[in-house]
């Protein structure tokens, strides 16, 4: 499968918007992997692939808390190249797992890029420190929008680098692309990440009972206990 330039431009723009949404503006949950992946999949004409990759990465997102000065992965932007990789790899049994692996690696790189962005913002603020101490209303607006611009640049670079890597993945040996075990590892890892994240977050303490109850209901719904 090859992707037209228009589709690549579209997903790059979407990935940039998703990256900016994570921290800068508007924090409207477009950066949730399932949202980012589904929209990217629709843009590529592969909504099911987008959803499958997004669903797995969304479970990994349960294990991250995007708060304060902590380092957390940028899984939203990383989802876009992951979906592109899975779409390019086609219907091989390992394609979803390989896309997820790319997304996880890119997410970590995205986390490092967020730290660099914060330091870049800090250096700019230090340069105008005396003006800020005197009270400079116009400067505040300028700093804000410079921050948005930098975050957009960071996100765009992350997505473009990811798309470049995704483009090389069809060159992998066919025996790897066709390996179902790869997708199974991704599925198991996502289940583990989701469980750990929930038990550490909303299901901590006595709330673990609610989590177990939900899991039982989920197994019943999927017919897994039948």
């Amino acid at each position: 499968m090859t992707l037209p330039w228009e589709a690549l431009l579209l997903v790059t723009a979407w990935g940039t918007m998703v990256g900016v949404d994570l921290v800068s503006v508007p924090q409207a949950l477009f950066a949730r992997p399932v949202v980012a992946g589904f929209i990217a999949g629709v843009m590529l004409g592969e909504p099911v692939v987008g959803l499958q990759v997004g669903l797995i990465l969304e479970l990994f997102a349960f294990d991250t808390l995007a708060i304060g000065s902590a380092r957390y992965p940028d899984l939203g932007s990383a989802t876009i190249p992951a979906v592109v990789a899975a779409a390019l790899l086609g219907p091989g049994d390992g394609s979803i797992g390989l896309g997820v692996a790319l997304g996880l690696v890119l997410g970590q790189i995205g986390g490092v890029s967020l730290e660099a962005l914060r330091r870049w913002n800090g250096r700019t603020i230090q340069q105008v420190e005396s003006m800020l101490q005197d009270g400079a209303p116009r400067l505040l607006g300028r700093l804000q929008w410079m921050g948005v611009g930098r975050d957009a640049l960071r996100s765009a670079i992350l997505v473009v680098v990811g798309l470049g890597l995704a483009g090389t993945m069809p060159g992998l040996p066919p025996v790897i692309i066709a390996a179902p075990e790869i997708t199974w590892v991704a599925i198991a890892g996502s289940g583990l990440a989701g469980s750990i994240g929930l038990l550490r977050g909303v299901a901590r303490g006595s709330h673990w009972r609610w989590f177990v109850l939900g899991t039982g209901a989920g197994l019943l719904l999927t017919g897994g206990l039948g």
């Binding site: 800068s24 503006v25 924090q27 949950l29 399932v34 949202v35 589904f38 629709v42 909504p47 959803l51 669903l55 797995i56 969304e58 479970l59 349960f62 294990d63 995007a66 992965p73 997820v100 996880l104 997410g107 914060r118 603020i125 800020l132 101490q133 005197d134 009270g135 400079a136 209303p137 505040l140 804000q144 410079m146 921050g147 975050d151 992998l172 040996p173 390996a179 790869i182 997708t183 590892v185 599925i187 198991a188 996502s190 289940g191 583990l192 989701g194 469980s195 929930l198 038990l199 909303v202 299901a203 709330h207 609610w210 989590f211 109850l213 939900g214 989920g218 719904l221 999927t222 897994g224």
Partner: protein, 251 residues
């Protein structure tokens, strides 16, 4: 109108986040419409108020409107600068804890679980339905979030220096703990559904679900620090290499 402008500006409160001032610049930027009357009446005090508004601050971004408006109200009421700074410092911790409990340990995991259930339940067979549910969920979340931001600005604006006490008496501290059990149940539902949506329904997925949840529970109980991302990437690379080597040996 002023409250609406402040609410809109709060959407980008973290755009210039830095380790030195954290959300300070964003808080200052969001405060400008509320502080504007000072600019006309007392330009010197206005500049000093803007400087104070943009000092170091960090709290949950979705509730930042409370501190923005409370500090601006205090400035307009003629409170001493040190009192305004003390108010900001006093509100940072409670607003961070409240907001994190409400959003990061409540609403966001709940929304995430709804998205997972929608995506896993309909996505593979009927992506259009999944798309509608995802869209509707985002509209509802953002409607609540922007509504809460507007309420936050109004709340801080009404209470000024006495915001801390008013916050304790408001219903806000009780909301987060009520959402967490719901998010835990739906999160629990979402895991088997998601794994089945990708891996297919059947005994294998059920065993896998029970295995990973058991392992996660054990890790939690024993305080093991399992890194799922690293384990998954290493596992995928390992399996890929193994398949490649086995295929090479066979030819």
């Amino acid at each position: 109108m002023t409250i609406a402008r402040t609410t809109v500006r709060l959407a980008c409160v973290q755009s210039c986040w830095s380790y030195d001032r954290m959300q300070g610049i964003g808080i200052g930027y969001a405060s400008l419409p509320l502080l504007a009357p000072l600019g006309a009446s007392d330009p010197d005090r206005y500049r000093a108020a803007v400087a104070r508004a943009s000092t170091f601050f960090n709290a949950n971004p979705y509730l930042a409107g409370i501190v923005v408006a409370a500090a601006a109200r205090a400035e307009l009421d003629g409170a001493a600068g040190e009192h305004v700074l003390r108010l900001k410092k006093a509100l940072a911790g409670p607003l961070g804890a409240l907001g994190d409990l409400l959003f990061w340990a409540g609403l966001v995991p709940l929304v995430s679980a709804i998205l997972l259930v929608a995506g896993a339940g309909w996505g593979v067979r009927e992506p259009a339905i999944a798309g509608w549910v995802i869209g509707l969920t985002l509209v509802l979340f953002n409607g609540f979030r922007f509504g809460l931001a507007r309420w936050s600005v109004g709340f801080g604006w009404r209470h000024g220096l006495s915001t801390g006490g008013a916050l304790v008496e408001s219903g806000l501290p009780r909301v987060g703990p009520r959402i967490a059990p719901l998010a835990a149940v739906l999160g629990g539902v979402a895991i088997p559904m998601t794994l089945a949506a990708i891996g297919g329904q059947g005994r294998t997925v059920s065993v896998l679900v029970l295995a990973v949840i058991g392992l996660a529970g054990l890790a939690r109980r024993r305080s093991w620090r399992l890194p799922p991302t690293a384990l998954t990437v290493v596992g995928i690379v390992g399996v890929g290499l193994w398949r490649w080597v086995v295929a090479g040996a066979g030819t």
